[in-house]
Symmetry: C2
């Protein structure tokens, strides 16, 4: 159970990259992370991806990205947990380094979603849900989240306008993130007047379809010492799961996988939710932000939305949220998202978050969610100063 350190970060801009292929995006993020860490020595590569088979006719991303990143021959595999693939790949790399068998492991999350028609993307995304009992009856992934949000509105007696602070905050933070897809502000009034995509979800509740890749280099304490600067320690990285179908859950408004994953992470790190200095939530849809805040212990059940309205989620608040724009405004290239989240936490811990810098950020947490909550990966990182 050796300690594990994060020593390099790489990101491509999130957006519609019609001039850059899947492999080019993945390799670019990989090379950027290696350059950031100042090393070319990597023992293993873990690729987080969900849709390359469906949208690019390409499986087998391990050797493909290794080769194109200049790492021909190294151990390389892909890890898949729907929209939680990036976090799951990070967890796999973490275990590899912790085992002592791998000294330096590169995690690359990559997704290319904009080359195919929207219908194919929709069909691809819903493979995160239960094929036999959810997608088979016509549910899309937006529709599944709409069911969840409607239930939240009814059970907790809030309105959809109450979710506005999450969207306003995410867009405000994205303005200063050069990697973000939507670098513009959105007001609560604009949010309020949006047309529905799947009632009560509007386009501004939803993260965009996009392309992007992010990478993080993990290594042992010895290797981290050799590389010197800017290391952060992985205090915990945990995976919890739940039923894949929403209707099989005892309580659809409790993200049981997030509860399991968060509790275990706090236990391993020996901390409480109040010790966390910033939180990268999986705001694929605004309902997920509220549920994640509640499951992770930052807000009481049904109070996630009120927590958003309290001002606590601002960069200078008690729990800065989606500090670089979140899935909503930085963008959500699905299999890459979990790695973007962790890269952003690392930027904060290194004091490199620019105008979005959270003061004295020491402990940061990312929560990456697959499907409607069937997989949740929670990662807690600590600055090493």
């Amino acid at each position: 159970m050796s300690e594990v350190f994060a020593v390099g970060i790489g990101q491509t801009e999130v957006g519609e990259h019609w001039d850059r292929s899947l492999r080019q995006l993945g390799a670019a993020a990989a090379r950027a992370a290696l350059a950031d860490a100042g090393t070319d020595r990597v023992d293993a590569l873990y690729v987080g991806n969900m849709l390359a088979g469906d949208l690019s006719g390409q499986h087998h991303l391990g050797p493909l990205i290794a080769e194109h990143a200049g790492l021909l021959g190294i151990e390389a595999v892909a890890v898949e947990a729907a929209c939680g693939s990036g976090g799951a790949a990070f967890r796999t790399a973490f275990l590899a380094v912790a085992s002592g068998h791998v000294e330096a492991a590169l995690v690359v999350g990559v997704e290319k979603m904009t080359d195919r028609p929207g219908k194919e993307v929709t069909q691809g995304l819903v493979t995160a849900a239960d094929a036999d009992f959810e997608s088979q009856i016509g549910l899309s992934f937006v529709a599944i989240n709409a069911l969840l949000m409607r239930r939240y509105l009814l059970e907790h007696r809030v309105s959809r306008d109450d979710f506005a602070p999450f969207i306003v905050n995410a867009h405000a933070n994205a303005v200063h993130n050069p990697m973000a897809m939507y670098r513009f502000a959105v007001s609560a009034a604009e949010f309020s007047r949006q047309a529905m995509v799947a009632d009560p979800i509007s386009v501004l509740d939803s993260s965009p379809v996009c392309d992007g890749a992010a990478a993080v280099l993990l290594c042992s304490r010895d290797r981290a010492r050799g590389l010197g600067r800017n290391a952060a320690r992985v205090r915990a990285c945990t995976v919890g799961t739940d039923t894949i179908a929403l209707h099989d859950r005892r309580d659809p408004l409790e993200l049981a996988a997030a509860v399991r994953s968060s509790r275990r992470a706090y236990e391993l790190a020996g901390i409480q939710p109040r010790d966390i200095d910033l939180f990268e939530a999986h705001d694929a849809f605004s309902i997920m932000t509220a549920l994640s805040l509640e499951a992770a212990g930052f807000a009481e059940r049904g109070r996630g939305v009120a927590f958003g309205a309290s001002g606590a989620i601002a960069i200078d608040g008690d729990l800065p949220l989606s500090t670089m724009g979140g899935l909503k405004a930085r963008g959500h290239p699905v299999g890459a998202t979990g790695v973007y989240q962790i890269a952003e936490v690392l930027l904060q811990l290194r004091g490199e978050a620019g105008q979005n810098q959270v003061k004295n950020a020491t402990l940061g947490m990312a929560q990456n969610i697959g499907g409607s909550g069937a997989t949740v990966v929670t990662t807690v990182l600590e600055a090493v100063r």
Copy 2:
């Protein structure tokens, strides 16, 4: 770097399971492995699968199989390395247990290929190759192997009939394997008169499209002691990679990823090829058997086919090969294959291989190949008596 032990095996019969779904197959193998080990306590599940997204509209197999195997809530992710997915999932589980963070990890390889038309299966399988430079120009996966085999015939001056011993051996061994798809013998004469699928590959050079699932439970030394019987030690499990496209390789007839992976495995285990008592090769096509034997150091370059003809590969030979029928006759449910291979090695080491038992089997090796050799996972297991 804790030691890792294999304590449970589960398999479903390989075949056309029109009455059993993807999740049912995966869960059945998982339950069988837990029953075999005599435990229900598992910390993590690693699912090897390649084509569920393409052929079943279902990603996110980690939580899906966990839930249906009665393991709701545990850590669970899917690992993908094309036809090497099963071996890659085993490697991931091995690292998880070796890290000390996971005490017992279940590996499930599962594939459901027969529910969709052949054209879709062909399109799915070729996603293991380079989408931009191989499948894009119309190469199928059989065609890629035919190119390799033709080159072998020309360069090493052998005939396609010389490959017959591999096929005769695999089918002879499958007769006594209750899990095998093709439990019938094939003669060299029958092999010789087959019509071509993609010249020089005939249907009898090729493994079948099929469904199946296999599982292995791995655990720490402490847990293995608690469970008692039938443990085997994982002496090495290594992953090597190569260029994804055949045409990018310096020498297409050398499986460089297999050379890397085998050498590292021998080094870690402190053994030589001659110490291996039986070898489960990745005989998806007969050309792969020859190349794998050569890359793993069992035969000189160009002598793999002669090695097959020497009698060494029989159950009572120097290196019993594909002892339960191999991919050719047990069947090749692609993402499950690597786990079937390891389960079969374990049966041999436990002395439970029935009429196919290799006498005094102490060290067994499995080699699982993804694509035309871009990923190779080599696993060496040792009987604990």
